[in-house]
Amino acid sequence: MSINYLLVNAILFGALYASIAYGLSLIYGVMKVVNLAHGGTLMLSAYVAYTLFTQFHIDPILSLFVALPVFFLLGMLIQRYLVDKIMDAPQIASLLLLFGVWLLMKNVAYLIWSGDEVGYNLSYALKTVKILVPVSIPRIIIFVISIITTVLLLMFLKRTYLGKAMRALSQNRDACSLVGIPVRRVAQITFGLGTALAALGGILASMIYSFSPEFGGNFLLKSFCIIVLGGMESTLGVIVGALILSLIESFSILVIPIDLQEMISFVLLVLILVVKPTGIFGRRATI
């Protein structure tokens, strides 16, 4: 019974972690920019879902259709008016800039929603379905959406012109310009898509966690671990990395004390960087 719980729980958490990490992976993979505002986006989107639910009784799944386009536009604006200005500067500049954006998002959240921990209770939050063990419906929904997102993202990157342009941009920016790919436009769309994916992760997380303006930091750190583990430019690597992380976190309690559980992601991060810095899938497996 315990092993079943650990296994099912690990798979479900893996799906959530992957949803949260996709946006970070995409932006880094294509633009080589570490988006520290990712944590802020997770947090803001959670608040958006909360507000739409508590004020307008819109289910968080339906709120995705409202929130994702908005965050897509926000991402494009951040790239167009901020990130684009420092693309040729040393990477530290983009790190600091996006960290600043994160701080700004945090303070906006404090102003609008105050510092209270909030959450919302879905009518189906505690209804369960037995899949080896009882699993709540929100977790099943998160799993399904995560799988759908993975499939759609892979298809987009492989089969569409824009997706191929993004992959080309991840390989060689100058060559893209030479062959007529509108580099700045593709970068904007990438950032927009990455931000929308972060918002997706934040909304899904809000279905099972309470949050405050400080929310997002912990997930950002796990996302770093996942994209390093899976390969920083690999979409498939994200889901594999997320699954590996959640399996190790879950089963580790069989050998280490529970209060060391959170250390696992950092230990993995260091190990992978030392042993295989390109990650499991690395650059060769870039989709």
């Binding site: 958490f13 510092g115 921990e117 009882p134 099972i208 949050f211 400080e214």
Partner: protein, 413 residues
């Protein structure tokens, strides 16, 4: 001639400086106001608590000033003047502002900020300058274990919280509602707060041999997101009672998973968590029958407690739902009482008065607040409440504060 003229000028200047110093010195000036310094978390992470603390302090100040001020030994009354700054929920800012309050604003005494981190940081400043400092915002016993002489806390310790819960459990065992020995699964945040909680449980176990058996004693990290591994251990422990010390986000995530996994215990408590409005908003009926220990609740039946709740509603046009303004109000009243007992604004006399204080009737459970001689942290029982179906909350312990009967064991679904 020229030399004697110089000496005259110097002499006159010295005379004027000395005269000015005497005139402006505190000894020469008659004090008709006591300056109370305070920095609160009015913005930032703890803004909500800061707002409520400000209300509590202001209510106490208005009350005492309406009576003419604090009576002193010389027959005079001194009104209270609050000098308040916003520490932005940042410990460094709290320290800087405390320095400013003491060295520039020259406050006589201080009221504390909210949260262990703020109080822990800022309290070194009044300790350094020998200024009486009373706070109702920091409960961690770490604050009071540093041997400080000038720092007083009106929040009973977290170990007192768990000890009170264990005392209630012992009563339930004696009444046959729980088995003897009662198996307890205990989990706690791996920090000073959680360690205090664990200490209170173990203290009660030692005092009542044969009543309890600790089948799980598991710390976890505050930033844990996945509680399934912990809860699998809890499930495997086959305990009668589950006690977990955590803050709100951890409680919300953990109890959601607890409910989802279909766990059951005859008695469940997450320390002080559960009766908050946000708890029911986040978890719905999953919070039913959860037991929580509080420093204060509007359910307390004492006349002074009801009077405070009524006064709060009249002033702020809303029902009081949190403990913050109550403890802030009581903290300020205790400080003013100490000044009255001291009979002057002499800091040492005020500190001595605080050390020997037996403040009653207090609005907290037990109706008396006094400070431990060694730690200067208040000791009084917590009031224990239980969430009932339909959103109702009842006070179940101590007996003289109870408004209803505890439901134990929790009904199985």
């Amino acid at each position: 001639m020229k030399k004697s003229k110089t000496y005259w000028v110097i002499g006159v200047m010295v005379f004027f400086f000395v005269a000015a110093g005497l005139i402006l010195s505190p000894v020469a000036q008659a004090k008709d106001v006591v300056k109370v310094g305070c920095c609160l978390t009015l913005t930032g992470k703890y803004a909500k608590a800061g707002k409520f603390f400000k209300r509590g302090y202001e209510m106490a100040i208005e009350e005492i000033n309406a009576k003419g001020g604090i009576p002193l030994k010389n027959g005079k009354k001194v009104k209270v003047k609050l000098i308040l700054y916003d520490d932005k929920s940042d410990p460094t800012t709290a320290v800087n502002l405390s320095e400013h309050l003491i060295t520039v604003d020259k406050v006589d005494v201080m009221l504390g900020s909210y949260s262990t981190s703020q109080v822990n940081a800022q309290s070194v400043v009044p300790e350094k300058y020998g200024v009486p400092y009373v706070n109702g915002g920091g409960a961690s016993s770490f604050i009071y274990s540093r041997g400080f002489k000038w720092i007083f806390g009106t929040l009973a310790s977290i170990s007192e919280l768990s000890y009170t819960e264990m005392t209630l459990l012992k009563e339930l065992i004696d009444k046959g509602k729980l088995p003897k020995p009662c198996k307890i699964a205990l989990s706690w945040e791996n920090n000073a707060h959680g360690k205090d909680f664990e200490a209170g449980v173990k203290k009660a176990m030692k005092e009542h041999p044969g009543y309890f058996k600790l089948v799980l004693d598991e710390p976890f990290q505050k930033n844990t997101k996945n509680y399934a591994p912990l809860l699998i251990k809890v499930k495997s422990a086959n305990a009668d009672v589950y006690l977990s010390d955590c803050h709100f986000p951890q409680f919300s995530a953990q109890h959601k998973q607890y409910s989802e996994m279909g766990l059951y215990h005859k008695f469940v408590s997450y320390g002080a968590r559960g009766p908050e409005t946000n708890a029911r908003k986040s978890l719905g009926d999953a919070v039913n029958y959860l037991v929580a220990a509080q420093w204060w609740t509007p359910l307390l039946p004492y006349p002074q407690s009801k009077a405070f709740a009524k006064m709060y509603k009249e002033k702020y046009k809303e029902d009081i739902s949190e403990w913050y303004p109550a403890l802030a109000y009581e903290t300020a009243r205790i400080l003013f009482k100490a000044i009255e007992i001291a009979g002057s604004l002499d800091r040492k006399a005020i500190r001595n008065a605080l050390e020997n204080m037996e403040f009653k009737p207090a609005i907290v459970a037990g109706q008396v607040i006094k400070f431990d001689k060694k730690t200067h942290q208040a000791t009084y029982p917590y009031v224990i409440v239980q969430n009932m179906p339909g959103g109702k909350i009842v006070a179940v312990y101590p007996k003289n504060a109870a408004t209803g009967q505890i439901v134990c064991p929790i009904p199985k679904k």
